[in-house]
Amino acid sequence: MTRVGKYHVALIGVAALILLMSLVRVLSGQNDITSSGTFAAALLLAVPIGLAGLGGLWAERAGVVNIGLEGMMVLGTWFAGWAGYQWGPVVALVAGLLGGALGGLLHAIATVTFGVDHIISGVAINLLGPGITRFLSEVLFKEGTQAAEAGAGITTSPAISGSTWQVSLPVLSDGPDLLGKLESTHWFLLADLAGILRGLTHNVNVLVVLAVLLLPLTFFVLWHTAFGLRLRSAGENPWAAESLGVNVYLIKYVAVVISGAFAGLGGVFLVFVSTKYVEGQTAGRGFIGLAAMIFGNWRPGGLAIGASLFGYADGLQLRSSTAVTSFFLFGAVLLLAYLILQARRLMTADPAGRGVKQYVLMAAAVAGAIVLFWLWLVVDQLPNEFVFITPHVLTLLVLLVASQRLRMPKADGVVYRRGEQH
């Protein structure tokens, strides 16, 4: 398929999705499905995952598996918190970046210089990150220290001084807030569009803007610059790169340090949201980020989709336990759409093309649609435990349904040594 074709398909897909969401919203009366609040929350929750995933992307594109994102993120949160209360948000940002980058550097030394198995090194960093930060807290935030005066405890830093900036789209989502007004009409489709747009543009933290910009930037750097080409070549075939004079070690170092910095940035973002470092606030987001990156087939666009999906589902379940049941309806409608498409194909295609498999699939789809629809009618409120796992289940379901043609960089995870090729 050509580039233009792909682009169009993506657009049509998004349009269809919004239409579907709008339909489900109207049918179920759950306005949170497309409310600006949900999308704002989705953005808030997706950004740290996306940043961690970007970190993973940079490392793995250069051939280094980075399971240590979580540890690097933890380092990012601590350093951001520690610097933030003393010198404000800008320094916090830099410190968090550096903290994560430090973790990345450690990973690079272990994997690139010493040729250690990438997973071991990552696991070690996941141990070291929380260990070191706890130790630092115990030393620097303990009672009687200046930080403790400012409100620190061993599990938290003081709040960062000064505030981070928030931006909105003028007129549309701020001031007269036209989008907000449109959203509150609850008109079919229009209100949904307005809600989505407003959620993504109202009072957005600058760091969110930065993080979102990093996606196209990553794409640009990795796929359209000489440096990016070299970086990816280190992940595809480092020996070929070496034979053309590319300094593979250096490239890998740079990539893994950047990877750590991005993970650290994810940590900074968490700190900005809660205005301070809180022990354990990363809560496994490094791993989720890694999952989002794999979900996205080691590409920034796919990663963004993965992170958004997760963030959206998480935001929705946090805002409304009841809206989650609309996913049953959503699924039923999707299956119905699938059935209609299949039926049309059956009408047009020549009879030879019809296999038993197709009928079985269609029968399963019918059954599935009925069950889902029934569930939607019957279930008002799921037990909380099932509400909490919405994003995880959804991710698994999407993975199961989407055709799996994942392609990781060929030399990803391979220990590379200069001049040696088996």
């Binding site: 935030f141 061993i154 949201v273």
Partner: protein
């Protein structure tokens, strides 16, 4: 059991006591819950009680924090026992079984457990009537609410936090039977990240405020920070928990949204237990720190609930008198 009838002192710790520290051979051991000392919350409150025992009763103290996964709780108790500490206090209901085991193994040592009932002859249960304090918080919220719509954010859906919820709901309903109460937990029981997720707290609270709630009560540890932020952004109010959060939270913009806090005087419980032990009290029973002994209550810093003081006092009196029984389960 001792300590039951004592009036808990209202002062926070550190208040210089006129009484000179008695030199004694009192060696008190205390094992924190996960998070350990310096959590600015529950554990620190317990430590404050311990420290008070040191200054006022001349006790030698030792406090230990468990590992991050909490797997060595029982071990910490044994180490304290082996090192000759007596009494030994386990902070948090998670210690229940370990304290029971340790108490059986060391029958000569007195144990106490915070937030759980006595389960052996030499164990004192230090219970707190969170539901009573939360009831008052509910009364305050319902009375102060202009919209008749309030919210509750719980960190982890454990039975402990459900006590807060139950009391709060009862309190709100007692004022406005038709009040709307949004309730949201952040993580399931067993996943304690719900106490450390300010972002999630913020999202959950934001939604409640957007839907019209104007006061939210949180029992969610550090996640409460997010609730306060959401309140500040929506220019609405929130109710803190455990300690007087208007004092412990240092950010001025957040302080002003904290209408009141539900106090849980673990420090009092710990101190009174040690004091009673010194007086020769033995375990085997529970001491409940309820409204009667001011083991729980509402803070008044900021004076935002001064205007409804009468109403709150009345509710309190009803509970103390037994006219109202606050449910401990939702």
């Amino acid at each position: 059991g001792g300590g039951g009838g004592t009036t808990a002192s209202q002062e926070p710790t550190g208040a210089a006591s006129s009484e000179a520290p008695k030199s004694s051979d009192l060696k008190v051991g205390l094992a924190f819950d996960v998070g350990g000392r310096g959590d600015k919350s529950f554990n620190d409150s317990a430590y404050a009680g311990l420290e008070k025992a040191k200054t006022e009763l001349g006790a030698e103290i030792k406090e230990l924090s468990p590992s991050a996964d909490g797997s060595n709780r029982g071990d910490l108790l044994r180490q304290l026992a082996d090192a000759g500490y007596n009494p030994i206090i386990g902070v948090g209901f998670a210690y229940a079984e370990d304290v029971k085991k340790a108490a059986e193994e060391y029958p000569d040592i007195q144990f106490a457990i915070v937030d759980s009932a006595s389960n052996a002859p030499n164990v004192t249960g230090l219970l707190f009537a969170e539901e009573q304090g939360s009831y008052l918080a509910g009364v305050a919220a319902a009375t102060k609410s202009k919209t008749g719509h309030v919210g509750f954010v719980g960190g982890v859906e454990s039975d402990l936090i459900k006590k807060f919820e139950a009391g709060f709901v009862a309190g709100v309903k007692s004022v406005k039977a038709d009040a709307k109460i949004d309730i949201k937990y952040l993580t399931p029981d067993g996943d304690f990240s719900g106490f450390k997720a300010p972002d999630k707290g913020k999202v959950a609270a934001e939604k409640m405020y957007q839907d019209g709630a104007d006061i939210i009560y949180h029992a969610s540890g550090d996640s409460g920070l997010g609730v306060f932020q959401a309140a500040a952004a929506a220019k609405k109010k929130a109710i803190g928990v455990d300690s007087d959060q208007r004092q412990t939270v240092k950010e001025t913009d957040l302080q002003s949204v904290i209408m009141t806090s539900m106090l849980k005087r673990v420090d009092v419980g710990v101190f009174e237990f040690i004091k009673a032990f010194q007086g020769g009290a033995k375990g085997g029973s529970n001491t409940t720190y309820d409204l009667k002994v001011d083991g729980v209550g509402l803070s008044t810093t900021g004076g935002e609930i001064d205007d409804i003081k009468d109403k709150l006092d009345a509710a309190k009196q009803d509970i103390v008198d037994g006219k109202i029984t606050v449910p401990a389960k939702p």
